[in-house]
């Protein structure tokens, strides 16, 4: 057998991101099995991983984990390039942008719960924007906004608390 001529060195960074992305993907797939009363309302459990990664390793790693999760999660659920994939992607990009901005907040007063809430609201905001501009070009899409915002508030708070809980115990997250 000829030896491969391409060299793809795997760094410790790559391994860590792959491990965390795998955890996020597992949560995405598990979450898809939970029945929800409205399409578009989801707990977004994978965002707990994104928050932990953001807090521990920074925004760049969080972006990798989040986008890998969207890509691989959609492949596993058969949603790749379907409308749901683009909604998921736009929500994730909006959240990452919000998390990038929230990174400027002083950590003394703004913990993971703040980040989680900003990410949740940005997520639904990005999704509604893309839905309005592309999928349903009618203001009717905004009719359910109060429900989506309420869900973002509740799930943003819960995910943020869980992330804070995990971060408070160093033994539960892999070291940097």
């Amino acid at each position: 057998m000829t030896r491969s001529v391409t060299e793809l060195p795997v760094t410790a960074d790559d391994i860590r991101i792959a491990r965390l992305a795998a955890a996020a993907i597992a949560l995405t797939v598990a979450e898809a099995a939970i029945p929800m009363p409205l399409p578009g309302v989801k707990p977004g459990l994978a965002n707990i991983i994104t928050l932990v990664v953001l807090w521990r390793y920074g925004w760049r790693d969080a972006a990798w984990v989040s986008l890998l999760r969207v890509l691989a999660g959609s492949l596993l659920l058969g949603q790749f390039l379907a409308p749901g994939f683009f909604l998921s992607l736009s929500g994730s990009l909006a959240s990452l942008a919000a998390l990038g901005l929230a990174g400027w907040l002083p950590r003394r007063w703004f913990g993971p719960v703040s980040h989680s809430l900003f990410a949740a609201f940005a997520h639904i905001g990005g999704q509604l924007l893309v839905a309005r501009l592309w999928l349903v070009p009618h203001d009717g899409v905004f009719y359910l906004t109060p429900v989506f915002l309420g869900a973002a508030l509740v799930f943003g708070l819960c995910n943020g608390l869980v992330a804070a809980h995990l971060l408070a115990d160093p033994g539960r997250t892999p070291p940097p």
Binding site: L105, P106, R108, W109, F110, G111, P112, V113, S114, L117, F118, F121, F142, Y143, T145, P146, L149, G150, A152, L153, G156, L157, G160, L161, A164, H165, A168
Partner: protein, 130 residues
């Protein structure tokens, strides 16, 4: 959940977190009020054969009889709401609709060519034709 566990969760909420949480709550409630309350109607508009025959303010209790090709349709108004109390039409759709209270709501008694609508809100129809 016991008190100690609750206190442990509460410790993860910093001052700024509570601020963000309150802001999110305000945004949610505001969106609910803005998008779901609609305009509060203050007039009931009664049409017969396409022409407006009466505009009744929704702050008083009164009844109005309107003549159509089949007979008399009775419109009833109460503070904040209005309904078609009786109609000679065969299927009674407009009567069974009951009280209308949302802005833009409409009850149409097509056979007798009478309609009752409330002002305010986006109209749910483009035009009426009998």
């Amino acid at each position: 959940m016991d008190r100690a566990a609750l206190a442990a969760w509460r410790r993860h909420l910093l001052a700024g977190d509570l601020l963000v949480l309150a802001g999110g709550l305000v945004a949610t409630v505001a969106s609910f009020l803005l998008l779901w309350q609609g305009e509060v109607p203050d007039r009931a508009i009664v049409r017969a054969g396409g022409a407006i025959v009466a505009e009744l303010p929704l702050n008083d209790r009164r009844a109005l009889s309107v003549e159509g090709p089949l007979g008399t349709t009775v419109i009833e108004v109460e503070p904040g709401r209005a309904r078609v109390a009786s109609d000679p039409g065969p299927r009674q759709y407009c009567v069974r609709q009951g009280w209308l209270s949302r802005g833009g709501a409409v009850a149409i008694c097509a056979p007798n060519q009478v309609s009752l609508s409330l002002n305010g809100g986006g109209a749910s129809h483009d035009s009426l034709s009998y």
